[in-house]
Amino acid sequence: MTARRRRPSRGFFRALLALFPFEFRADFGPEMEATFEDQEREAALRGGRFWQARLWGRTLAGVLWTAPREHLDMLRQDAAFTFRVIRRGPGFALTAILTLALGIGATTAVFSLVNAVLLRPLPYRDAGRLMMIRNTAPKTGAGWSVSYADFLDWKRQNRSFEGMEAFNLTQFNLTGGGQAARIAGMRASPGLLPLLGVRPALGRGLLPSDESAGQPSLLITHGLWLRRFGGARDVIGRSVSVNGRSSTIVGVLPPSFMFPISIDVVASIDRDAGLVERGNRAFEVLAHLKPGVSLDAARREMDTLARRIAAEHPAENLGWGVTVAGFQEMLVRTTRPALLLLLAAVSFVLLIACSNLGILLLARASARSGEVGVRMALGASRLRMLRQLLTESLIISGIAGGLGIALALVLLRAASGLLPPFVAAVTRVGVDLRILTFAVAATLATGVVFGLAPALRASKASLVEALRTGAKTGGVGCRATVRGALVASEVGLALMLLVVSGLLFRSLGNLMRVDPGMRIENVVAAELGLPPDRYSEPERVRAFFRDLEAAVSALPGVDAAGFVNQIPMAGFNAQRSFIVEGRPLPPVGKRESNLAGFRIASPGYFGAAAIPLRSGRLLADGDDTRVPPVVVVNETLARRSWPGEDPVGRRIALATGPDTFSPWMTVVGVVGDLRHLGLRADPQPELFVPLGAADTGRAYLVAHTTAPSPALARALRRAVAALDPEVPVGTVQGMDDLVEEESIGRVRISSRLLLASAALALLIAVVGLYGLVSYMVSQRVHEIGLRIALGASGKDVVRLVVGRGMRLALVGGAIGVAGALALSGVLANQLYGVSPTDPAPLVGAAALVGVVALAASYGPARRASRIDPMMALRRE
């Protein structure tokens, strides 16, 4: 009976003992068991379950109370020892912690960014199935907006999509409820917001009946609601004037609403307006792919549909195709390569940091095998030593992880600048916890792997051996090779990153040298919108622009001012197709291929923007009413339309419909090319017609000042308000800022970030190289001493040691050059005006790495050359 009762209780107690640290168990386990058995026997003698249960309860409580404290106690001892070791040689720990923190921080920041932009779905319902459907232009195949009529046909006839909706981005003049304002917005089909999964925070969404209600319905964003209407709940049902038409606010969008283009108003579409004609391609179309339908199948169906519609409406649709792609894919297509490049760069940095930690730990384990031997001789168990060494690596990794998080927060902000505005607008960037966990786990794993291997070896070391050789010798043979390989790869990766950042900087330099075709310093531009109801007569429009030009030109510091419907690099590019007098008329359907950027400009614009005249004359006062009308073209248009001939005096006409044209316009002058679409894009054909001759509801005021003028923005607004307080003025932007933002900023940021990664990688690699060479010297003191004793000079020793370091750097360099060449394919579309195999960055980076490697090996080499042979030999 007793025996049967005792067995389970012994198992119970053994299980409890397992909760203690093994050292404690080894010390007291058997004794505790004996004590417990004594107590059990006593309980049995007292008789009965009650006493037994009491004993078990008390024992359990005692163990649960004591065991964690014993663990903590052990940890505290190990940690205290670690900090003593760190204090004794802070260089090692500091280097390891800093390199790891940099690696963790950089990787976490960039991974978070990649995750937010490329992996996390857009903030819309079923974002994974959300597709964008666009037209493709005849011949060129360029992506194009869609006409409302085509959209309605697609929506009715397709079977691949559920829910297909359209929107048209535009600018609105908003009057009523405060000062007149120029506001970005869109006209949307009624189902767009439900398609995106957006529900109004207040009021209702758009309804199909809104499209024929006679007056538009509006939803406003939460931001506009607060700014302009003070968050008043009775804003619903309020009437405001939009583009001079009375419109009703029916809802307020939720604060969480995000859209790639910053907008403040969503308005219903007016089916009666010319906006919905088939030839007017002004809409973007979004749709949900039906579950189970493949993207390819949907594309095939849309192709068939497009051909059918083109057969029915050849005048508008002949040659036009359709393209279907994921909405997110459309948005991030241009951003992805830059992000992935940066991601690769920081992954390399983390890789280098981890391998450096490995090198440091390996070298140190060798150096400490003596110490470990001594401690084991003094009675420390092997497990105890393992635990101690592991605690050390983990503490170092842990501190580095903490610093890395802080660094990630800072870096993330810098790296977010890489995103173009339309991506940033739909991206919530934050440090991603999973990624942070990954980076810290990676370093902890490094700590464990590289901490464990030497710990195992050191703790296994024969006592006698370890004590006899002391701290002198240690890792030889295979570990030396591993260390060498690690350092060589570090050098290689650093070289690779240097080459890539060199290429990016050259691209940046090339971009900055591109002539935008106009003056951008001290030139500002601001968009104006004339309310159409009050500016329906051309005479009134002309008078307004004339008066405003006079008023602005009279402002202090302003030496030229003018107007144009679209300024370069602002994201808008109106185009018209045109025909050339004396040339055969292109067949219907091919006319869109003869396109030119369509600008409406006042004479003052050319002066304010300093656009150079090549031949003939610029637009002049009075041109707006001249008959026959006149036009100024740019060099590209002139060259393409009249190769080798003088264009002045020739005539062109604009297409006004499928088969209708404007009156002939006489070319009076040729101006230099503008980079309207950005510095990277080649100039397009462009033509300028006089302001006032064409219908203009909106225009940019462009002004040049003799010196930077911070007060100019306010002065411009006052000048407009003095003429007509109902005319809204958009943001006043410097042209230089616009160019920077459109074409240069992101290249600048990505080249800087990459250079920073490269510098970091080089720094870490050099530390690794220095550490390895120093370690090598310390391992070969005896041999070097012997050489000196046998007559080797200091120079010989320096050459020997430096040679060893440089051999490693050379191997690394070869790896790096191969890697950089392998990367060139990926890089090509990130570069501008420089070949990915350009030798200059390669040579420069290799030289830099060479010099740095030389410096890193020279220090330890000098120390080696000063070894006293007598001391070195006596150490044996």
């Binding site: 107690f13 409890l16 203690f20 404690f24 010390d27 007291f28 058997p30 004794e31 505790m32 068991e33 004996a34 004590t35 417990f36 004594d38 107590q39 008390r58 024992t59 409580a61 005692g62 163990v63 649960l64 109370w65 004591t66 065991a67 404290r69 014993e70």
Partner: protein, 121 residues
């Protein structure tokens, strides 16, 4: 050790430590005997479990208050798993210092007006 250690650095002792030291003041004992001694001495008010006891033993050994004794009982009464502990001279001094500290505390309490009823039996 160069200079004799100052026991007051370890004061006050926890009640459990105090009782364990007290149990070893007269005699060498093994773990179970300590538990029994404490239990009897405190009339069952302090009952140590095996886990608690050996946590204390470890700490007392590390502080040098107790040590393992090499003397063992006759073979027929012995369990080889058991170890016997005794007070070191430093442990004895520490225990005395603790007792003095407690005495002073009690005197202080007695001299305090409003607490006249305090008695130590």
């Amino acid at each position: 050790m160069t200079a004799p250690r100052d026991p007051s650095a370890l004061l006050p002792l926890t009640p459990a430590m105090f009782h364990v030291l007290l149990a070893l003041a007269g005699d060498e004992r093994h773990g179970y005997a300590i538990i029994k001694d404490v239990e009897i001495r405190t009339a069952g008010a302090v009952r140590l479990s095996a886990g608690t006891l050996y946590g204390l033993v470890k700490r007392l050994l590390a502080e040098g208050l107790i040590e393992e004794s090499r003397r063992r009982p006759p073979a027929d009464e012995d369990d080889e798993r058991r170890r016997y502990y005794r007070l070191t001279s430093f442990g004895r001094r520490t225990l005395l210092a603790e007792v003095e500290r407690l005495e002073r505390a009690v005197e202080l309490a007695r001299a305090t007006r409003g607490l006249k009823s305090v008695k130590v039996s």
